[in-house]
Symmetry: C2
Subunit: 285 residues, 2 copies
């Protein structure tokens, strides 16, 4: 018998992986979670049938969502992570000794539990004493947080359907702005542009951030298991420009060994193709 | 009835597109050629069952294989294209008025015929009087060419299996070096690194070029329909460094409107992820 997992990247594009074993299937009050062991990508976790993380290519996503803001402001000490239940974002953050405290707000405890059981190389820092892991609604958490609290907010969310929806709203971004310090940075996973649904989500998120933050840029990475393989992140900032203010010398002096990120690639990741630049400049929904 | 086309990106990774119509199927003495009309990617051409070109994402590949070398040396006048039967490479070359002559050597006339019939937006410059289109074996053509003839050679080939095999050999690259002028540049499609088979091919091509050309670099682009979506090109050169010698001001003064390429992205495309740099520096086969 051959077992295959298929994700519909669109109604007319399927991406399928041959499966060794279906290791886990669970339903929380928020979503359905499955863990599959695949031949090409190792173990992977899906939420409501969509790939969130795989052992083989997670390094791209986690390097890019963490090291880009960390290399722009070397004085980041207090971080808020919204989502990120697999632990990869926190794992990368914990490599910075100067980070004093991370509040990580994951709505769904099942994601962390599954990550701890099946993805030890990703979830390995969830118990770090510098990490305060809260199983709460991120939308509510930022509403209740005090002004001027965080140096960095990372929105490591699912797509804007289901539990992730509130993390793509203007009200949520306004609270993020309010609770960031005066030189604060927000980074989010910002979907993609090759397919209609993710494209619409990407533009909406970007347009909303632009109304709130003075500096809003988009940057890119190649993540094979995400739709089209071309994925975007948003960089919204009160003070720092992600390229002009990149502190490459300082970041390189930290000697953090990364598999994907480096400071040349940092600059390159903001050099978008013309069609992407034009989409974010002129696109309307 | 639903019709789907599936490409096996590896033995355990399938990429499938829903098909409106199977427009053409033909067999030449070299390979099997099919044309499909798909919902997401428009018309696409396969050779021996593998996607070569689609209407939706061909702009990425053709921008990157042509404009990168053209922006490094603004005095390119004589070009040799090996392969490239769909015509996309020649289409982009013809946008430079200062290019005087292109020899295009495609082994398989069927590819050009199918491109002319089904892909008019791609094949539109194949009849340009500056293009000398020859249906010959590229390996033989470079053997028979005179020393010091071309400013640029573009190897727009299939994978190194089947008719493309000879275009990945040391003997072939040596002839390319010989027939290039003293400031000549060679660019090739250089496969990818996420999956075993393309990875092996990428490293072999790169290692061979490094033994012949003094400057050999790799650059990257996101091409959704190619395996993993992350694709590489090789830049081998006698004199010009692709980043240090980029003549951005000159290229921008030409006012060539591109959908993917720009001179910032040019620089960024050479800023490789650490794992790719390490693979080409240390990998051995």
């Amino acid at each position: 018998m051959e077992l295959w997992y298929t994700e519909k990247h669109t109604n007319s594009v399927n991406f399928s992986l041959k499966v060794k074993e279906h290791l886990f299937s669970g339903q929380s009050e928020f979503q359905k979670l499955d863990v599959l062991d695949t031949y090409e990508y190792g173990k992977l976790m899906t939420l409501d049938g969509l790939v969130m993380v795989t052992e083989k290519d997670e390094f791209v996503y986690h390097d890019m969502i963490v090291h880009v803001p960390m290399a722009v402001n070397p004085n980041i000490k207090k971080v808020l992570v919204i989502g990120g239940g697999d632990g990869g974002t926190v794992r990368e953050l914990m490599r910075y000794e100067h980070i004093e405290h991370v509040d990580m707000v994951e709505i769904d405890k099942l994601v962390c539990d599954a990550a701890k059981e099946f993805f030890p190389t990703i979830s390995c820092e969830l118990e770090n004493p510098r990490v305060n892991l809260l199983y709460e609604d991120g939308v509510k958490f930022v509403e209740d947080s005090k002004d001027n609290t965080y140096d960095l907010i990372i929105i490591d969310s699912t797509d804007p359907i289901g539990p992730g929806e509130g993390l793509f709203t203007t009200a949520f971004y306004k609270n993020c702005f309010r609770i960031l310090k005066e030189d604060g940075i927000l980074v989010n996973q910002n979907e993609s542009v090759f397919y209609h649904d993710t494209k619409e989500a990407a533009l909406k998120a970007n347009s909303k951030l632009r109304k709130i933050f003075p500096i809003v840029k988009v940057y890119q990475a190649c993540i094979p298991t995400y739709p089209s393989g071309y994925w975007l992140f948003g960089f919204a900032s009160k003070k720092y420009d992600p390229v002009k203010d990149l502190n490459a010398e300082k970041w390189n002096s930290l000697n953090i060994k990364t598999k994907y990120y480096n400071t040349d690639l940092h600059v390159g990741s903001f050099a978008l193709p013309n069609f992407v630049k034009e989409f974010f400049e002129n696109g309307t929904i």
